[in-house]
Symmetry: C3
Subunit: 309 residues, 3 copies
Amino acid sequence: MNAVRFEGRDIISIRDFTRGELDYILNMASEMEEVAKRGSDMLRGRTLASLFFEPSTRTRLSFEVAMQKLGGTTIGFAEPDISSIKKGETLADTVRVVENYADVIVLRHPLEGAARFAAEYARVPVINAGSGAEEHPTQAMLDLYTILKEKGRIDGLDIALMGDLRYGRTVHSLAYALSLYDVRLYFISPSMLRMRREVLDDIKGRVDVVEEENVEDVIPKIDVLYVTRIQKERFPDLSDYEKVRGSYRIDLNLLKGAKDGLIILHPLPRVDEIAPEVDATPYAKYFKQVWNGVVVRMALLALVLGALE
Amino acid sequence: MNAVRFEGRDIISIRDFTRGELDYILNMASEMEEVAKRGSDMLRGRTLASLFFEPSTRTRLSFEVAMQKLGGTTIGFAEPDISSIKKGETLADTVRVVENYADVIVLRHPLEGAARFAAEYARVPVINAGSGAEEHPTQAMLDLYTILKEKGRIDGLDIALMGDLRYGRTVHSLAYALSLYDVRLYFISPSMLRMRREVLDDIKGRVDVVEEENVEDVIPKIDVLYVTRIQKERFPDLSDYEKVRGSYRIDLNLLKGAKDGLIILHPLPRVDEIAPEVDATPYAKYFKQVWNGVVVRMALLALVLGALE
Amino acid sequence: MNAVRFEGRDIISIRDFTRGELDYILNMASEMEEVAKRGSDMLRGRTLASLFFEPSTRTRLSFEVAMQKLGGTTIGFAEPDISSIKKGETLADTVRVVENYADVIVLRHPLEGAARFAAEYARVPVINAGSGAEEHPTQAMLDLYTILKEKGRIDGLDIALMGDLRYGRTVHSLAYALSLYDVRLYFISPSMLRMRREVLDDIKGRVDVVEEENVEDVIPKIDVLYVTRIQKERFPDLSDYEKVRGSYRIDLNLLKGAKDGLIILHPLPRVDEIAPEVDATPYAKYFKQVWNGVVVRMALLALVLGALE
């Protein structure tokens, strides 16, 4: 494995990466920890364009900071209304315009497949910062990196994904990524929001999968708890929502049975699915994920722009 | 007094500062005049996040330029609608996310007390760029700095604050700040918009205060005239507004009785409370305040980030 | 001709430039090709303010990238709603505020004459990035530069401007600019959208002008085809629009009669006036124009900021 394989490469789906490649990225992210603190000129003179056809402040700022910490500069737009680019222009044309301004394009788009489509037209690397309901590969990479950094390994862990496993943008990418490792996965959700069949089919055979509705039963068995929000809008009948809501809220009481080294992750923003009282416990790693997102994105930018070897 | 006391410090309210500290900041601002012209690498590798939950282009640009002139970089958002951060996320969580991206947070927020609250959660310094109707400490500092720079001193001056003294965001901070100096204050306003009782109570005993409704009578006595806008919306009865409006407009005729060295300040934007014919007179210093805001903010950024000694 | 004449100069209208000056700018743009690739510190410590009172992502990003490639930094706003500056503040005041933040102002404004007005108040150079329906001088310069770069010369060419010649913002500036060269101009449009009389009067006598309704007849005769969009909104009667629409669409069939070296330009965004099948032909230069816009703007920024000699 070497960096050469990444130069010029698009980052569209977590499914485009082998375990070896993911391990390589995680390793590079680790090397970026020091660089992030002292700053670098690695990407001096290079420009990142962030094209957010759908607002996502957190992801946008994370990429921009990653670029700046490597000495590069950023341009772009934060929401579609600002963008006159959208006035009837095709995404293919937008991309062929912006590749004249930037060395790498970070794209967020409401449509499924938009990032892959853009990458076909762009001569510069395209990084998918979320397209449609499914893919958000850099989030899955920073989740992996957080597990590795906090637990020292990914193999051999018992990992639960909890909440809305049906519609959640991040859990599908993460489930796939984890299936490349030797882990046992627990999928904890209300029956209405169970992990999609196609994801299950995809990863079964590679990892052990246990589906559960009850959080309490799983807590004592796991090393990692990945929590996602359950959105009210998913329930046609609001009383169904009220029923499940309380059962999928992590608080100190629920954590009494937890292993000592349990870590709790969350893609953020958190609403009320994790009680604030959990924030001060050693379990809580969700704000640390934010920093990890920066170093993972630094590694990706440096790799696709050919600045690492 | 030394810079060590400022490293890591939040800038929330003008009331948190002693006269000695204010003098020290004004002195550092003065040293920044040269730095601002030639540029500097003092904050190279450092990042400022500007979180504007309420738009304020002038203040945002001023902080961003201040950071850039010191070699630092900036990220952030200019208005809440752009920010997906706001989607149900608490300010406490937002701050704990953003402190992973930035070395200092500049916050503008519609809610009273938001900056102080944010500072309690953030590990990095928070600078209040306006929260609620009351505090905007860096504006008061740049006002002080303008007086000092133009008049050579603050002590011994006769200073009038005119216009909406009841609701104006800047006049309360400025009145408090000036009360730390040996000045005589004139508060000139329609009776409905008199300076709030609690501000008067707070500063009385420290400085002489004269309340007036008539501008003309005061003009010949003062060295500094600080003008603020009277907003139509403050008057339940529009005819009351029409009555006072003309009397609180500064023009050449009114200035006939002014002292030679009078300086006129205004926090901007100005609507019609100062006639354009005044702009060309030596009295007008309101556009110079804008530059002064940049050097004051450079000094503050350098101080809280520990780049000065 | 030398750079001294450009230091501090405003770029408001293409009509303010002699042929000698335009040639000089094109020559400097050419020298920027290499600088754009390797980056430069020519404008280190300098700040560009982009004030977009009307959104135009393409133009804004182009100026920002140009500034960054020269080592400068950027501030500004991308749309008026974000700008608290606009709250009742006059453009004259806004400019006198922003000149304290920036070394050069790039202004886009919906009002005719706004850029000229701003330039009268600003001590720093103002560059017009589009004001009202008429002037967009840097677009005309990049169009000239594209012709020169692709054809090796401008003199002696047969050049067609096609589409909406009546309301199109760019064609008037370009027609004027081309009239300073030894060219033959074809104006191809539906009769309703013919080139304005005052533009024709202005350039006649200097260049040969042929007005045509039929594209096909002109194609075999020309070296350059400049296509602009015909907007549905211009037609009071929609059936009139439907009639002309198809006749002003460039596709492979229409291009069968073209000269070998024909180049097709377009100010972008393109909607359907050029068929996507044309993109892959050697005629298509409209995406290359985007890059050319960057180097032309680099040259202008370096010139007005006195960084070239």
